[in-house]
């Protein structure tokens, strides 16, 4: 304990979190395969995890400083470090005890540039971890997401419905077309492959499903099914249970941005009375963003 107090000055980051499970949930959402490298970016605003795949799919998990019960940042610049996402999540998972709210402290860097984790909720029992970090590869392409025009092309759909739609599209497989049209306002997912499957979300018909819709002209782009599926395949149960919405935006060149919100509030099983009173800690949300590049051969009616 005292040793940590001494070096705390020299550390880039010392932070504490009271809900490990929330962090596990948020990071699991971007875990679409077994071996994934993640880049962690530290800043005064919080911690960002970035993972990507073959230059076509990138995901970011934003853990803002407000999610932490303590956040002391004293680095120059924005340190970036590379870790194995799977290992990090598995490790974090060991800190999470069902039915307990686990309190952990994360510090960086250790003497050998490790990421140091330690449970801090009990004096006589302590879980600790040291995760080796590496110098991260540069991000292969910059996902400068720019709006496609003066008005954003965006819609918000219930996360559960989005996941269900994308799961259903597995059957035709390979490529999925997403089409937005202003009149009548609707979003269409269409898959072509072994067969055709089309899922229409009509804005005025299903306002509880399609929560928001902005579109001033018709656009459509094709996306690889496997990338699209990665955006919802590991969506945490808490997102579905909380009946949250996911926001999808089509940017310039057809870049698709998918945003989810994951609650990192203290587990409600401990405080069922809080939950029943309808009280939710509003700021304890982790933001998850996926960026999916469209397929090259867009034969669609654009711009």
């Amino acid at each position: 304990m005292s040793s940590s107090a001494v070096d705390a000055e020299a550390l880039d980051l010392v932070c504490q979190l009271d809900n490990v499970q929330g962090m596990v949930d948020a990071l699991s959402a971007v875990r679409w395969k077994r071996n994934q490298d993640a880049v962690i970016e530290l800043s005064e605003h919080g911690v960002v995890f970035i993972v990507e795949e073959t230059g076509c799919l990138q995901a970011k998990v934003y853990l803002q400083r407000e999610l932490f019960t303590r956040y002391e940042y004293s680095a120059q610049g924005r340190p970036r470090l590379g870790v194995s996402l799977g290992l990090f999540v598995d490790c974090l998972n060991t800190f999470s005890v069902p039915g307990h709210s686990s309190f952990i402290e994360i510090r960086y860097p250790g003497p050998d540039m490790q990421l140091l984790l330690k449970s801090v909720d009990s004096l006589d029992a302590c879980i600790y971890a040291e995760i080796k970090t590496r110098i991260p590869d540069s991000i292969s392409w910059d996902y400068n997401f720019e709006p496609a025009g003066s008005t954003p092309l965006t819609f918000t759909v219930k996360s559960a419905a989005l996941k269900e739609a994308i799961d259903d599209l597995e059957w035709p497989g390979s490529s999925i077309q997403i089409k937005l049209q202003p009149v009548p306002p609707a979003v269409t997912f269409r898959g072509e492959g072994h067969g055709d499957l089309q899922i229409d979300l009509m804005y005025y018909v299903n306002t509880d499903l399609l929560v928001a819709f902005h579109c001033d002209r018709q656009v459509s782009y094709w996306y690889k099914y496997k990338f699209l599926r990665s955006t919802t395949s590991n969506i945490p149960n808490s997102v579905i249970k909380d009946n949250r919405g996911s926001k999808l935006t089509i940017g310039r060149g057809g870049m698709l941005k998918v945003q989810h919100l994951v609650s990192v509030a203290r587990s409600s099983t401990l405080y069922p009375h809080i939950d029943s009173a309808g009280y939710k800690q509003p700021s304890r949300i982790a933001y998850i963003e996926f960026f999916v590049k469209p397929e090259e051969d867009e034969d669609a009616v654009n711009d």
Binding site: L87, P98, Y128, A129, E130, K132
Partner: protein, 318 residues
């Protein structure tokens, strides 16, 4: 070679609800070793590797009207499939409870060793037979077993059993088996080998380490049975790793390396609902031992009629 006994209600409860499900997790096949006074369920005692588990019952804990005879000092041992045994006990129980609505003692569960000709075979095969006599019917279940062990094999088993009785000098009581199991089960995803150190101060430290990660847990101020020592005050404010390193150097702690899967298996024994569990390292670091303690219901006195302990093979004896 004869064996015949009636399983008591208490015996059925012990086996069906507690021991057999737990022992099933230790391994599919075990040796059932019957003597004049005791019944043993033994895992991996004759094979070198794997977790050894030794469950011992006084005959009164499981049976009444217990009759055993053999030319080898009334000792009989054979291998049996635990899951089949459990299925037989479980279905006998359900038959008993269906038939025995009137609470009569007639429908008792008899268990005996038989040799029968299985269908399509000319070779008589040994079975452990469960016979449930109801008011109007009887249900018989045959659980196949191995050929009874030879005199030499029984001797070997008895020797292994005697050797497995040595106690660690220091034992620490695990506070919460469920919690530890939860932790170790998640740890399995991170590494394969587990360093376990146990100190005379009452510290239990488990750690797995790979090239990418070190992950550990330390439990302190546990109840110590056997040799103990007072922790030096200068160790209070150091990390778990340093604390256990210093204790080992001082000779106040021992460290062994075991397979994390073995450790997790040993924790599965909490299914037997023990009242306490203790971990300790055998002299010379020969194995990691976990001892489960059972109280006489409603007391804090050890129930000596039941015992269970496991011995985890140590991977690196140095």
């Amino acid at each position: 070679m004869k064996f015949k006994a009636f399983l008591t209600e208490n015996g059925v409860n012990l086996l069906e609800k507690r021991f057999l499900p737990a022992l099933d997790k230790m391994g599919k096949i075990c040796h059932l070793f019957l003597t004049r006074e005791h019944t043993f369920f033994l895992h991996n005692l004759l094979s070198g590797d794997g977790v050894q588990s030794i469950a011992q019952f006084q005959k009164e804990a499981l049976f009444d009207d217990y009759r055993i005879s053999s030319q080898n000092e009334d000792r009989i041992a054979f291998a049996i499939d635990i899951s089949l045994l459990n299925r037989a006990v479980r279905s006998s129980v359900s038959i008993c409870s269906e038939l025995g609505g009137d609470g009569s003692t007639a429908n008792r569960l008899q268990i005996k060793l038989v040799k029968k000709l299985p269908p399509n075979s000319t070779l008589p095969t040994p079975f452990l037979t469960f016979e449930t006599k109801g008011y109007k019917s009887a249900v018989i279940q045959d659980v196949p077993i191995s050929k009874p062990l030879s005199r030499a094999q029984v001797l070997e088993l008895q020797t292994a059993l005697d050797m497995a009785q040595d106690l660690p000098q220091t034992l620490v009581q695990v506070p919460d088996l469920n919690q530890l199991q939860n932790f170790v089960d998640r740890m399995k995803h991170v590494g394969d080998l587990l360093n376990v150190s146990i100190s005379k101060y009452g510290d239990l430290h488990v750690q797995t380490s790979t090239t990418l990660i070190t992950l550990g847990a330390e439990f302190r101020k546990l109840l110590v049975v056997g040799e103990r020592a007072v922790p030096p005050p200068e160790d209070q404010n150091v990390s778990a790793q340093i604390r256990s390193e210093r204790a080992i150097l001082r000779g106040d702690a021992q460290l062994v390396q075991v397979n994390v899967k073995h450790f997790s298996k040993s924790l599965q024994c909490h299914l037997v609902k023990p009242d306490c569990a203790f971990y300790g390292i055998a002299p010379q670091g020969a194995c990691l031992t976990v001892i489960f303690q059972f109280f006489i219901p409603g007391t804090r006195q050890t129930d000596k009629s039941i015992s269970l302990h496991c011995r985890l093979p140590v991977l690196d004896p140095s």
